[in-house]
């Protein structure tokens, strides 16, 4: 009995340990990003530098700074400041006891390991902020994402209501077509759409990134419709008997009961628009002042490809808001994914 319990406990512990190890490996690129974003450019030229942001520690002696090294002696290793470099032997000073004077050490100082100290370089962020003009990118992305979100909410709610509550000839076929558009490769519509937007002068503006969202989206319609179907029809009918029009029923019966689904759709769109890269690039490549954050980061990093700390700082700035929103709204978010993914 006890051994059975013991065995079960061990199995649970091993399984949990495995899951957490896998998670650590899976998320380790985030650690790389964060650590690199705080490094000094100087650190990248040093192959012996640690993984974390660090600087070589030094010691000030008689008004001058000297680098610290791990120096091996017969009776063990000591941390000493290198004051005079020599080919075969060098002079050191003990930072604990500088009065003792210079210590002679035989060997090549270049083989010694420097003493690194943890030293995050916070200035990388204000510098990256300035370099990519973060406030402008942030404002542009916010406007594109928010207006598009309003558009997709207004239109997808109306369409989902139409599919959920009305008998319309051919509705089943229309719904199948709607779902099929999820599988339609974007390329097959992209070229004429681009040519059309170019002809009416919308390229180089935000309009191609915003206006199409006012015409509903299959995922959002599906999610909202599934939700609307769970609301009892008797509530609509009661309101109808009181003389409410279908629009009134939508506004005062359906919507107040569908807040969770509406929140899911809103977050989906906002994060999607925040992360979207290809179409903003396509339509705004020549308009830096209108670009959203994804395009701004890419254009900046293409110029500074030899500055890993700046690249990782901008990568971090780009993902911060969507990740924060996800953590705050993870329940609504993941429930929405499950509804659109499992119930189809």
């Amino acid at each position: 009995m006890v051994s059975g319990k013991m065995k079960r406990f061990t199995a649970a512990a091993l399984l949990t340990l495995f899951a957490f190890t896998l998670l650590t490996a899976y998320l380790s690129p985030f650690a790389y990003m964060t650590s690199t974003a705080f490094k000094d450019l100087h650190q990248f030229s040093r192959p012996d530098a640690p993984l974390w942001p660090a600087q070589e520690k030094s010691f000030t002696w008689e008004g001058k700074e000297y680098p610290l090294y791990h120096v091996p002696f017969e009776d063990g290793e000591r941390i000493l400041a290198l004051v005079k470099k020599g080919r075969e032997e060098s002079l050191f000073v003990d930072p604990q006891n500088p009065e003792a004077g210079e210590i002679r050490w035989e060997g090549r100082w270049r083989t010694l390991e420097p003493v690194w100290e943890f030293s995050p370089r916070w200035e990388n962020f204000p510098e990256a902020w300035e370099a990519i003009d973060f406030p402008r990118l942030f404002r542009n992305t916010l406007i594109i994402a928010t207006v598009g979100m309003i558009g997709t909410l207004l239109s997808s709610i109306a369409v989902a209501y139409g599919f959920a509550r009305f008998r319309i000839p051919g509705k089943k076929v229309l719904f199948v077509i709607l779902i099929a558009t999820i599988m339609l490769p974007r390329q097959v519509t992209l070229i004429p759409t681009y040519a059309f937007f170019a002809r009416i002068g919308w390229t180089g503006t935000w309009l191609p990134l915003i206006v199409p969202h006012f015409f509903a989206n299959a995922y959002n319609v599906f999610l909202l419709r599934q939700y609307f179907l769970t609301i009892p029809r008797e509530l609509d009918e009661a309101a109808m008997i009181d003389g409410a029009s279908p629009l009134r029923v939508l506004l005062s019966v359906i919507l107040p009961l569908s807040i969770p689904a509406i929140v899911s759709v809103g977050i989906f769109h906002f994060i999607w628009a925040w992360n979207d890269y290809f179409e903003p690039y396509l339509y705004l490549a020549t308009k830096p002042e209108l670009q959203p954050i994804s395009v701004g980061i890419q254009q900046f990093n293409a110029l500074y490809s030899n500055q890993p700390h700046m690249i990782q700082a901008t990568a971090l700035m780009g993902l911060l808001l969507p990740v924060i929103i996800f953590f705050l709204a993870q329940r609504a978010f993941m429930r929405g994914v499950v509804i659109t993914g499992v119930e189809k």
């Binding site: 097959v188 070229i191 992360n275 980061i297």
Partner: protein, 308 residues
């Protein structure tokens, strides 16, 4: 009495249909303007020499674009690159989320909500950020993976500059995109009735047996749905390697995906006639593959409701 009643009913039915269509109208208009008309236009473009640099000189050229496509070495090369990548990345893109979902569904696992949220989280990261993070993480000398391999005494490969290692590198970076697949598979596993597992236990089935004969068939609709989406998505893959390696398909053409070639033809080169031809051929291939998958569904996808 009867006819007038029927007439009255149909009048209210018509009224209902009118209201319904009114609510559907944003999508109906959007479908026409942003899907149906562009699709047809795209097909028409493919029979012309339409170039955005001289939009007023369009000529009908018949099947010239299609003939050119058949003899275009870049079409063949880029389609082979795409197919090779599909062969590596689709199995990983299905198996890795399946493994994660199975792990997160294990009864004895502790900290499930925490693990689920964090395994999902990379899916939220913007593609641009993910591209730069993975480019650095898999860097030849400064990347953490190669540094870790060096500790084990293994010399890590030159991930991004070797035509051989770039696909594994892209597949690794793609692991961050499995969130939705994992979550839907997990939700589907949680929906499997526990009586089935209890019955299997009574029959003395091993865990592998149970997984193979209960879990997999029960979640097969979600597996099917994810397989269709991932295949369609991978046929169109090009953005991540394009951001990391640039527009030339480096190294040595290994990232010259079909869609990159399509994009370059239609946009930087403004050759929209040929671009539309490439797009329609891709659409046609994807359509055939999707129809084929739907055709196989009856052999391996289990829909409980059909048996009722």
């Amino acid at each position: 009495m009867e006819p007038s009643k029927r007439h009255k009913l149909s009048a209210s039915a018509r009224r209902e249909a009118r209201w319904g269509l009114l609510f559907l109208s944003p999508w109906l208009i959007g479908f026409l303007v942003f899907t149906l008309v562009p699709m047809v236009a795209s097909l028409l473009f493919s029979f012309t020499d339409f170039n955005l640099l001289r939009p007023d000189e369009v000529h009908f050229v018949g099947l010239k674009n299609y003939r050119h496509l058949l003899h275009d070495p870049l079409v063949e090369q880029s389609m082979l690159v795409t197919l090779r990548f599909i062969l590596i990345s689709v199995p990983v893109g299905m198996l890795f989320p399946l493994l994660l979902a199975t792990l997160l569904n294990a009864k004895r696992l502790k900290g499930k909500p925490f693990l689920r949220t964090l395994f999902y989280m990379p899916y939220i990261v913007p593609m641009i950020s993910a591209a730069y993070i993975w480019r650095g993480f898999l860097g030849t000398t400064d990347g953490w993976l190669n540094k870790g391999l060096a500790v084990l005494g293994i010399k890590g490969p030159d991930w991004w500059n070797s035509p051989r290692w770039i696909y594994p590198a892209l597949v690794l970076a793609g692991l961050w995109g499995v969130g939705n697949a994992m979550l839907t598979m997990l939700a589907s596993m949680q929906g499997v009735p526990t009586e089935l597992y209890e019955a299997a236990k009574v029959d003395g089935a091993t865990p592998i047996h149970t997984f193979r004969h209960i879990t997999l068939p029960m979640i097969s609709p979600v597996l099917f749905y994810n397989l269709v989406l991932i295949l369609i998505g991978t046929f169109q893959y090009f953005l991540l390697p394009w951001v990391i390696k640039g527009p030339n398909g480096d190294p040595g053409g290994a990232t010259m995906f079909y869609n990159l070639y399509l994009f370059k033809t239609a946009f930087p080169y403004s050759d929209m006639g040929y671009g539309a031809t490439l797009a329609w051929v891709l659409f046609f291939i994807i359509l055939l593959v999707t129809l084929f998958l739907f055709g196989t569904a009856k052999y391996w996808v289990y829909y409980p409701s059909e048996e009722v």
